[in-house]
Amino acid sequence: MLFNSLHFFIFFPIVFFVYFTIPPRFRWFWLLLASSYFYMVFIPQYILILYFIIIVDYFAGRMIEKSTGRRRKVYLMASIIANIGVLFLFKYFNFFTSNLTGLAHFLHWNYTPSVFRLLLPIGLSFHTFQALSYTIEVYRGRQPAERHLGIYALYVMFFPQLVAGPIERPQNLLPQLRQLKIFDYYQVIDGLKLIIWGLFKKVVIADRLAILVNTVYNNFDYYSGLQFLIATICFAFQIYCDFSGYSDIALGTAQTMGFRLMQNFQRPYFARSITDFWRRWHISLSSWFRDYVYIPLGGNRVGKLRSGLNVLVTFLASGLWHGANWTFVVWGLLHGFFIVFSRWTMKLREKLVNKVKLNKYPSLYHMEQVIVTFLLVCFSWIFFRAENLNQALQIIYKICLSLTQVIKALFTGNANFFSDQFTGSEFGLSKSGLIVAFLSILFLVCVQLVQRHGDLRGIMRDRPAQQRWALYYLVIIAIALFGVFDEVPFIYFQF
């Protein structure tokens, strides 16, 4: 079930009102039922995979807690193998075998692998990691094993974050599932505001930009480097608004019922470095990799070289998590490389900044850092969005070529160059569509600038009622008039 569908807007109020109407001791069951229904709307049979993982991890957690010594590790490994095994089978098997086939052909071996033709269960990567964090935390002694199978199942299946996160930690979510939730009017209102805002980002900004991005990226031969550059920048906003929009709706939905899920985004394009970017982008995933991959490998407590390697391995894994394609691997490795490079060159860059006296202009320095980080992130998005490595490299080549042509045009004063690039409807959007896209990005940036000084909902609460209601009506009317309602799935659903 998509959050931006009529189905969800009928489903959610029913779940909400019944939740607060029924006796508290039945609420976990009602939410579990609703979550099962939510999941089964996609492919009903796949609920069995989810139930399998839940049962395996529930018993693994109980056994880890009861056992001592090596047995604890055995149960943990069983949980990891079961979870990663299911993930590997559905997500990586075909990728693995196709690469093996390629290698076999290269080595002139006769090898015909079997192909797995099942669809990837929706949200598999997300709830697998969420389930793994539970067994790992139980193993580490930081989380008691959950005795109630229903509560544990709800931890894995809680519908607001079931298919695209945030990837919750047991310490945050499990206790909340046991707490008595009283109807809190202000919580509900804040949750609804977040849902509306998420919807605005998704249908007005993300889905509109998707038309432009898809037009350019899906018609590779027809577009110039400059047009690809614009499409890539638009993709940066598309994927941010799409994913953060989903997260907002998830958080808002949970908040209306009294649950606090973790923040997943903190204005990532205001980051001053790639490291800072990963503290602001898909926080639940980056913190998962930090706690369960990077730190166990040694983190930065080991030598420089080893620490750099740990970063690369972590980001390689992160890239692979996003998809079974070399483009995601390269995307992940690029981010890893940027972080390692920035660490290794930190002193050199500080010297350079002092030399050009940029540090005497903190705002300018800040802006430079934000812009450079944004451009580096956009560069890596090319790999994320491209169909394959070959296309990604060709896009980069086209962009470089266009940039040299831009510089040439600027020096020679050739104004026609720019008008030749943009004749109007080549981006798949009408002129008014482009204006709406541009204005909504501007609106988003303004909102995020305001959010630097405090939570926007808190700020709004202090405004007079007329101003608040005017804004609510404006946002809803904007969604109604400018939203794209082709039921485009969220980008991260494919992961």
Binding site: L6, F20, F183, Y185, V188, I189, W469, Y472, Y473, I476, I477, I479, A480, L481, G483, F485, D486
Partner: protein, 372 residues
Amino acid sequence: MIRLIKKLLLFSPLLLTLILVNFLIDPYRVFSQLDDDDRWIVEKLKAGNNVILDTTVNDRMVQRGYIAFMGAQKKLYDVVVIGSSRALQINSGIFQKKSFFNNSVMGASMEDNLAIVEMYFKNKVKINTLVLGIDPWMFNRNSGMEKWRILELEYDNFLADNFNYNLFDKIALYVRHINSSKEKIKKYCGTLLSLKYFQHSMQKNDFNYESKRYRITENIYMQSPVKLPDGSVINSESMRSADVERVRKDVVDYLAKAEIYGLESFSVLDPNLRLQFEALLQSLYKKNVRVILFLPSFHPLTYNYIKNHQQYRAVIDTEDYLRSLAKEKKMLLIGSYDPQSVGFTEADFYDFMHPKREAVENLFAGIFGLTK
């Protein structure tokens, strides 16, 4: 929770606006029950165009759309016609200077007649005279005709209004329609609440659909049948050009199959269908509508076949019944299933059961004065 509901109600103007805009503007005519081609035909007829049809035309849906227009006009129709394709030759030329429309549909059964009359009532169409084309199969429970089911809702409503359905019967009828309309209801609700449809409505997409299946024509004598703005039909070139010999041969071949359209297993007039017919007449009398019964003739060879085969005895009984009813109710009855009794020869037929346009016009010419 009450406070929340009260606050959410403050958004109800937005929801209401959405629903009203979608329903009232309805750019793709989702709520009109007509598909785009049906609606196109209605629009063209309204504008006075001749429309080239084919056998796939959903004439019942076209009538639904046109009768709604007739009601909206709020004018008195001097003459309207209902019946089967055998009544489609009755045209406005017969009733000069009178407001006229032929609402006949192909393969009409008794249920169609009731449904169309119900549509007249529902749309408040004002009628002076109704010419009711009655075919014998309209009293045959085993005719196998199912096309009327497109108008099942109107048919059921007529029965509910005219057969003293009690409240429970009406509820059962309503529930039955809801069950069979689940997909439609889902579609309507989805469209009413659709933001995408709202955007289309705001762009004021007028119905500028152009049909790919049908087209208009200045020339009414075409290869395919042509529906005229008065609702009557000019038959296809092949039907019009068939000479007497060819028609006779076709009729002989047809009769050799020993299965006459709509008349199989017709041993007796069905009592329920008789009751429905009488209720139909009664409902028209209540609205001060004058009824003229029209009995379209069969080809002489067909009628001879009917007369000489006992299993079609009910056809003769039907005409006897209608004549006695017309006498009793002092209704004008025009025509006869027996072509000889109205002076029709083989030359007056397109095929085994469709009288020619000119023959029908001549038949009505004699009573022109009475319908003035």
